[in-house]
């Protein structure tokens, strides 16, 4: 792999990581505030996480 590809992959991973961190953090906060809604929050978190993951993987694969 050439350097630009690696840098791009790194950027994607940074972006994805930030996004996942934000989702996870917000979900944790939500669960802490409303423990009875934990199930719903978890499902929503997983779906958003999956969408983000799809985006990141798409970018990684397009760049490969």
């Amino acid at each position: 792999m050439e350097i630009p590809t690696l840098v791009g992959a790194g950027l994607i991973v940074i972006g994805g990581g930030l996004g996942l961190g934000k989702i996870g953090g917000a979900a944790m906060e939500g669960i802490a505030r409303q423990p009875e809604a934990a199930g719903k929050i978890q499902t929503a978190m997983i779906i958003i996480g999956a969408l983000l993951e799809g985006l990141a993987f798409g970018a990684l694969i397009l760049g490969k």
Binding site: T43, I46, I47, A50, L51, E53, G54, L55, F57, G58, L60, I61
Partner: protein, 370 residues
């Protein structure tokens, strides 16, 4: 009772497979070379991640014997359909062994079958190691992935058929292994289908959603066994699953859905065609693409990481000694393996979840805002 019988059947099947493997194909090849350099490991992993035409278990180092059993090759060449067993390639994967099928000469190169141009007898390569005088053929072989799919399908039919037969016999509460399966079916119905598609319409899509969920899950788990399946890591497989979802939600789309997609109400008229294009691309290209890439990439990455961690045993032997490197690789691989078991479920769940979400978007009635 039925579950017990089916388990016995599976055991017999597995033993049968192994017994075949021990005597099948004792081709005298170049002695099996030990894999101990980084390049070889890389190549080995790349080879594993691809589909293969035979079921390879193990190669004996000294004798060079391959313990594997061949699978049928079915290819559509320029001279029609050709079928033969993959043992004819003698485990060659570099295009050296030419299989002569009368009017057609076939070689296998990096897990793909190529047909030599007429008149050629050996493959010649260009600088990038691409074959120059051969072209790929349509390959309908019963490859390892196809075997995996058939196995998963068989397992599903046996397990859920037993559950269904239990109900038919008048048992209201399943017993044995079926008791584990019933909550899973209820989980898919109540947590995935009903909330996303809606109480009224979910029933029509349950067949697809349940099948896809368990199919992906079983294949993901099969990928974690030492049998070496990597079915859901084949882009063709995930693409097929995603395209099924697309076909289902495009064909079950309501008038409302098409109205909202192609002529979005409440937006300036100039913007509507642009929005229609964006929405269409989203539904036809981006959503299935993200579905197929997510599953493919997760499983491929998982296999890659697990195999790399196992390979640490070899690559770190120089610097840490055999015991430390083996221990380290075992601990790390075990850790990732546990995560992979979670990922195996999660990816099946996500695929089904998003499929039902998209189907739910397509069948939704928007009577609340008109």
């Amino acid at each position: 009772m039925v579950a017990k019988k089916s388990i016995n059947f599976i055991t017999v099947l597995v033993f049968a497979l192994f017994s075949i493997s021990t005597y099948a194909d004792d081709g005298e090849q170049k002695p099996g070379n030990k894999i101990d350099t980084a390049e070889e490991i890389k190549e080995y992993i790349a080879h594993h991640l691809k589909d293969s035409h035979d079921f390879h278990f193990y190669t004996h180092n000294e004798s060079g014997k391959h313990y594997s059993f061949p699978l049928p090759v079915i290819v559509w060449t320029s001279n029609g359909l050709k079928t033969f067993m993959s043992s004819e390639f003698h485990h060659d994967d570099s295009g050296k062994v030419v299989v002569d099928q009368g009017d057609t000469k076939l070689v296998k190169l990096h897990s793909k079958i190529y047909e030599l141009e007429p008149g050629e007898t050996t493959v010649s390569f260009d600088a990038d190691h691409h074959a120059t005088n051969a072209h790929a053929v349509l390959d309908f072989s019963i490859t390892k992935s196809v075997v995996g799919m058939l196995l998963a399908g068989l397992l599903m039919l046996l397990a859920f058929g037993a559950l269904a037969r239990g109900y038919k016999k008048g048992k209201t509460i399943p017993t044995g292994f079926s008791r584990v399966l019933e909550p899973l079916v209820i989980y898919v119905r109540d947590e995935i289908a009903k909330p996303n598609i809606g109480e009224k319409k979910y029933r029509k899509f349950m067949g697809f959603l349940l099948t896809v969920f368990f199919f992906i899950w079983i294949l993901n788990l099969l990928g974690l066994t030492p049998l070496g399946f990597n079915v859901t890591g084949q882009i063709a497989v995930t693409a097929c699953l995603a395209i099924f979802t697309v076909i289902i939600y495009l064909f079950s789309g309501t008038k409302d859905f098409w109205g909202h997609t192609l002529w979005m109400p409440g937006v300036p008229y100039l913007l509507r065609p642009i929005l229609a294009v964006i929405e269409l691309i989203g539904f036809v290209v981006i959503k299935p693409f993200s579905l197929l890439v997510r599953l493919f990439a997760n499983i491929t990455a998982g296999h890659f990481v697990v195999m790399s961690l196992i390979a640490l045993m070899i690559t770190l032997k120089e610097s840490f000694g055999p015991v430390a490197s083996t221990g380290m690789s075992l601990v790390l691989a075990l850790f990732i393996m546990v995560i992979e078991i979670l990922v195996a479920f999660l990816q099946a769940f996500i695929f089904t979840m998003l499929s039902s979400l998209f189907i739910g978007m397509a069948v939704e009635e928007h009577d609340d805002h008109h």
